[in-house]
Symmetry: D2
Amino acid sequence: MARIRLGMVGGGNEAFIGGVHRIAARLDDRYELLAGALSSTPERAQASGAALGLPRIYDDFKQMAIREARLKNGIEAVSIVTPNHMHYPVAREFIKRGIHVICDKPLTSTLADAKKLVKAAESADALFILTHNYTGYPMVRQAREMVADGEIGKIRVVQVEYPQDWLTEAQDFKQAAWRTDPERSGAGGSTGDIGTHAHNLARFITGLEVESLAADLDAFVQGRRVDDNGHVMLRFEGGAKGMLWCSQVAPGNENALRIRVYGDKGGLEWAQEDPNYLWHTPLGAPKRLITRNGAGAGEAAARMSRVPPGHPEGYLEGFANIYAEAADAIEARRDGRAPGADVLYPTILDGLRGMEFIDACVRSSARNAAWVKL
Amino acid sequence: MARIRLGMVGGGNEAFIGGVHRIAARLDDRYELLAGALSSTPERAQASGAALGLPRIYDDFKQMAIREARLKNGIEAVSIVTPNHMHYPVAREFIKRGIHVICDKPLTSTLADAKKLVKAAESADALFILTHNYTGYPMVRQAREMVADGEIGKIRVVQVEYPQDWLTEAQDFKQAAWRTDPERSGAGGSTGDIGTHAHNLARFITGLEVESLAADLDAFVQGRRVDDNGHVMLRFEGGAKGMLWCSQVAPGNENALRIRVYGDKGGLEWAQEDPNYLWHTPLGAPKRLITRNGAGAGEAAARMSRVPPGHPEGYLEGFANIYAEAADAIEARRDGRAPGADVLYPTILDGLRGMEFIDACVRSSARNAAWVKL
Amino acid sequence: MARIRLGMVGGGNEAFIGGVHRIAARLDDRYELLAGALSSTPERAQASGAALGLPRIYDDFKQMAIREARLKNGIEAVSIVTPNHMHYPVAREFIKRGIHVICDKPLTSTLADAKKLVKAAESADALFILTHNYTGYPMVRQAREMVADGEIGKIRVVQVEYPQDWLTEAQDFKQAAWRTDPERSGAGGSTGDIGTHAHNLARFITGLEVESLAADLDAFVQGRRVDDNGHVMLRFEGGAKGMLWCSQVAPGNENALRIRVYGDKGGLEWAQEDPNYLWHTPLGAPKRLITRNGAGAGEAAARMSRVPPGHPEGYLEGFANIYAEAADAIEARRDGRAPGADVLYPTILDGLRGMEFIDACVRSSARNAAWVKL
Amino acid sequence: MARIRLGMVGGGNEAFIGGVHRIAARLDDRYELLAGALSSTPERAQASGAALGLPRIYDDFKQMAIREARLKNGIEAVSIVTPNHMHYPVAREFIKRGIHVICDKPLTSTLADAKKLVKAAESADALFILTHNYTGYPMVRQAREMVADGEIGKIRVVQVEYPQDWLTEAQDFKQAAWRTDPERSGAGGSTGDIGTHAHNLARFITGLEVESLAADLDAFVQGRRVDDNGHVMLRFEGGAKGMLWCSQVAPGNENALRIRVYGDKGGLEWAQEDPNYLWHTPLGAPKRLITRNGAGAGEAAARMSRVPPGHPEGYLEGFANIYAEAADAIEARRDGRAPGADVLYPTILDGLRGMEFIDACVRSSARNAAWVKL
């Protein structure tokens, strides 16, 4: 099978997430990175592209979309790794030309943009993959499968959290600057950057949508223009209740995304920093520690795993799993067939749900943490 | 120093907590259990008292209070370990006769009773100790001391939780029966039984009062008349925010009380099931694991500790520490002096705060989890 | 049932282990401490006895043995908590007068003394209980029961270790002084003080005796006269193999006694510092975490446990369990009946095995860690 | 910089380790896999090569070495991922033609072959990199750096172990078959397959060589022709002592490689299954948990790390780090310069040490675990 011809927008020198996408695309050798507009200034776009040895370097993304669409062997897919406010304008240009989009989260910087992008995607002949990468971890797949199989019964309680500490004090380096600027990042600070990951993970594992929420958001660091801590109570369809905590001011927490789901027959607990383990707590029996590819792990996890149990896989492998799923879908599209039923990736509608989540958090908090519907 | 003459009300055969109080009182050999009205029926009160070899056995608590107060060497203190609704009537009889009260939590079954009891205590010549036992753990003392010493800076976020799983299904054995009966337990279910512990622990460590809260309470098990899961957002005086989760329907959780406190200079994390450890997370430095009596642990913890580091102490020792503090206070009272400045125990006012917490949770939840003041 | 009349030899002011024995005896209210010769000098013996409010204080242990044996209600049992070299002379005086002995470990300071004491005990009408206290932990009982029930199959490998760090540097305070003096402690340093605990724990859980060993002992701290680190390879009867590590010079280890046992059907793992957990690793299934009194824990653990699951028990409770077993045995002897089949405590023969272990380690190490038989 | 032209010998269909090497080579985009002789039978070599889309497929390794050496842009390096007994004949052919070798461990199947290969390498103009991959983990680098910087003082004790459970019962699938066949694997079973990893890791972190050892090896599974459990006592140059345990019959252990090193000022503890953490235990201070790229981690770890702290890296990234170091060395060789002083990879001499370790274990065990020199 020929490798998928890939382009990238954003992800120049300093950008952490661009490098992650490139490794993720490369890990399984199913993509070939051929073109890029890696920066918003032509000079840096050229320099970054040259540094990577890209065959085709563009000064700007629109030029890139137009030309690649016309090339005989132009890119089939583009990775968008810009700050949030650029997701919409960039994605629109590619998707309308039939180039598949693999876009970093959150979907856009405003809910309005998100809705426009959904509309654009509906009329386009291209796939849209959102890299809510944590859904690519094998043991997250395992958890989802166990919930779907009824192993923990009817879900009652969902506790999800994503604390960090890197914004405990005021910061102005590049990664921090745009993430704390509402013009570029969106109205949500911690809610947008990491709260959406927590929200999406809860939806992914439980299969339940949040119907309403009450959010108490704070900007603890003086002068910060977006929230750096969010306390959110959740009500899911069907009656389950949840709490979501996201924070960038919790010292000692690096990327401590963690979810616990409890049903009437058992529970499941997973933590991103130790991702090869899943606790299963069946009611009335000892806790069981299921390991990636180990005894008790099922098909959904095995599909997403590359090495034997006890050899840890991490963040990059989880991210690469989203690219692998995207590759399955893109290859199926090439062939005019449906992808396998087990192929799972976050879609543009998941992105829309995330934007609705941010929007609801901000609205609720502005109204003294009143309950608002999503 | 002569041992303190102690009586007990409640705590007959089946009652778990009565036995705990007796061990706690015995551990350091500073109390002598001499009298009791251990059950609400005379036959069982006699049988339970005889089984323990009590010198003086009473059919009912009022008779006991009257007679002991008149005896030359009657009891100096009484432990009250009845269901919650009896705390007030029992405590009133002893306290007004100058007999110190060591009472299980929550203070009463209603806020009205709590207020009456506070009034009674104010005019009485007796101490009132509430066994919020988790404040007796050495590493909880360590945490409180570190907060007071400014080691984590100004507090911003408090995450506290107390999940259990023993009421995941409907239960009707004795311990469950009264705890799920609002007449005997009070309006709060999980909020009253364990949520108050979480609330008190947060107050104890941070030194901050909760000003208002929004609570979403549920009774997930069909037919249950009190909450078995509580999601609560907290606002503390001075601007700190918090989340409190209590649950009796979270499979795999036994007594998983856990608190995390984050300030602008660092954080602290402690879990009841592994109580000999305290994580300290100074901003910008590696996490430190402080152990009971180990390097880095201070005076406040050392006072409360009996064996060298690496030899775990547990629930009974923590409980006994409350009795030891009470003994210090009672002995000081005997001698007409003030107890040492480091003597700390939960007071009747802590109990009142707990009842206000339960009341606020129930009021808030009834109003769709609106914010209410405590 | 009348409380057992108890005396104590050793355990004056500074001694850590005397206080532990007293709490252990008191915890379940089955003993009454009535007499003591708590120090080797009359003045300190008097002062220590008075400080504890002992009814009968003796200047020396022999006087105490003689007089107590003649008293109508003299002590029925004596706790011996002296330095090791005094165990034999003290125990001999009591046991030959029919007073039961509860003796700290190791049994004696020399193998010769141990054999003489065994002989003395054989002809005496008294019980001998050795406080290898770690066998009192509920989850150690659970492990032993699971091994006996065949849950891990035929045992192949035993890994046991007991590292500490308190002698990483030269020390001369009292606890360190006698433990590093071969005249008082015996020929083994870390091997005697903690290696014997590891050895006994392995025997207790597996039910297997060590047939031969090869030991490489070191005294890393300059001038130290006994070993402070021991590396030992073990061969058990029936073909199982093991490693034992004891160390007092391993920074970061407090009392990190830990055992792992592997059979052809599964494994078990337990650590003293987190004693309420037992890992069970059945071959071909996820690991299971069994908790004290939790789901999956059996009768042998439940007998030894006082509080519900999730409320941790610790070192003192484990120690008290040995006293509780001793009380069962002593009461049965009073009544002229056999104790229950489930009553288990370390005996004088376990003590002899421990002394043979120390002796074998020292002999082996002196011969360049050659294999020696026990 | 042009990518390094790479070939591969071994690593066809079923082979786990071949795929790992390919991902490791690809991760940082510094190699291009151009040629291969992936199987020992021409048919399978052709099929496996075609499946990977290799430009140049060879029926056998000798043919490949000859032709590639003659090509103008033939491979610069070859990865050897065959069973152990083929390492020597394959490596010899490439190395003598100036093609760098990246070889899986252990170096060979016999000590004699190892010595011949060392001789061949000495006279060859090519690099030899041995993939003792665990030395590529960032926190292993961190540990080595801390030891070298004197942070734990003079080393006294080294405890290293590598237990697995996959050979607890007899197995005959391909991976198991050759590893338990002394003709293909060598005289060591668990000692060769995983014991050498443990031995090498101890050497790498401490900078100390093992001078002598005593090994008690077993084949617990009936009919097994090589050891499946090894207990080894170690004596290091300079007086440090150690224990090494390797096992393939320890249920519940997947790849539980773990090392603990104790000096007179502190200790270090690292476990392969949770590789992003390093415990540092300075004497007299609380334990510190250093995380990959987190506060307190130094340059040596940062060099080997791709993503921010809290985003776990795993086995593949650690393996890729060896390939990255090899790439640095190969590129430097291309340019006629020395690689950076911080470039570190296991060499053929490390491989020789590993073979001496296996040989010593087997010799010692054959002589009743007597001490033998390496």
